[in-house]
Symmetry: D2
Subunit: 116 residues, 4 copies
């Protein structure tokens, strides 16, 4: 088992002990994910892009950002568990498609690519 | 290296080859994450909760959902790479805090918990 | 002036008195909007679709939902003010395009329309 | 009737003609709102805060941003219609609370306010 699978197993147990699977249909989990990402976005809304790296290193915001990233990751793993979608595989497959979609010679240094 | 670290290394190379790190400050990546989650949410907005599991298994929506999960995962790993936050650790730490916050005997079968 | 314009004027004064326009570039306001919508989504994540109307009427959730809708509306009006985009016109123009895009005879009773 | 009420009436007719009210419970509409905001956020994710005003004025992005603002506004008005929440009132009430929460002398020029 990978580390991610070990974590997913722990998470499944956490949910089972609380009998929360009944609330965790994929629609609800997509909403959980959206609400957690909203909290993460809130951490950066008043910070300039230039200051965003430093903001991510300062103790207090870093603790909050790490906490929100934990929430977002948990919501994403819950959704993958529920739907039986392999997160690592999904990311790898998408990265492969992105390689074809954004060839190095055309995409280099350009932010004006259509959609990510 | 864990599978997640192997993937993160590949992703870093993908970004470096395209010289995209200049666009990937944490603020922009939080926005990338929010926009990708918006696309995932769109997959479920007209599906009832009852039908959401089946919708996630049907071929065409499953392909799109897997694709969106890939995008969301990539955005999240990019943010973790940029900020130096360990995703697995952040999730494990948060799960630990959630264990304390939602004791089994009080949280069992209840969706009316305050915040996740 | 329409009621919306009267409100926008009040909102402009509120922002000016606090010297917050410096933080309110359109990028930051888009993030504000995303974070406020995340809070609104959180209100409905554990409620079934069937129970969502009733949930919206019950006193305590209704107060929170009204509050979040206020936040979302304010963020949207701030963005329109900053960019000089007329919200009512933008909505009317989009509704017009949606009329052409979803002709009654083809769209009636169908949720499987492509994108809204 | 205010302009906003006139628009809401048109929107209600648009939905009724297509028999879409069956899909428009408040949970689904909150998801519609989140997905539309995700598209708006996408418009600004690679633009710096400094360049975001100019980006909002350039013809092509302005047309897309206006379109997305139309979508977000429509989703918000649909939710208000469905729940019977008065958007203008909700915004005014929230602005009033924000006046108390962020007194001018303490909030002036400060972005580090807790939550908006």
């Amino acid at each position: 088992m990978t580390d991610l699978e070990v974590f997913a197993t722990e998470l499944r147990r956490f949910v089972a002990e609380r009998e929360w699977a009944q609330f965790h249909d994929p629609k609800n989990l997509a909403m959980l994910l959206a609400s957690e990402v909203g909290e993460l976005v809130a951490e950066y809304r008043w910070v300039t892009g230039v200051a965003a790296d430093e903001h991510s290193r300062a103790a207090a915001p870093r603790a909050r950002i790490t906490d929100e990233i934990g929430d977002v990751g948990i919501a994403l793993v819950l959704l993958c568990e529920r739907t039986g979608i392999d997160l690592l595989q999904a990311m790898s497959d998408k990265l492969e498609r992105n390689r074809a979609r954004y060839p190095v010679d055309r995409a280099r240094g350009r932010a004006d690519r259509p959609e990510d």
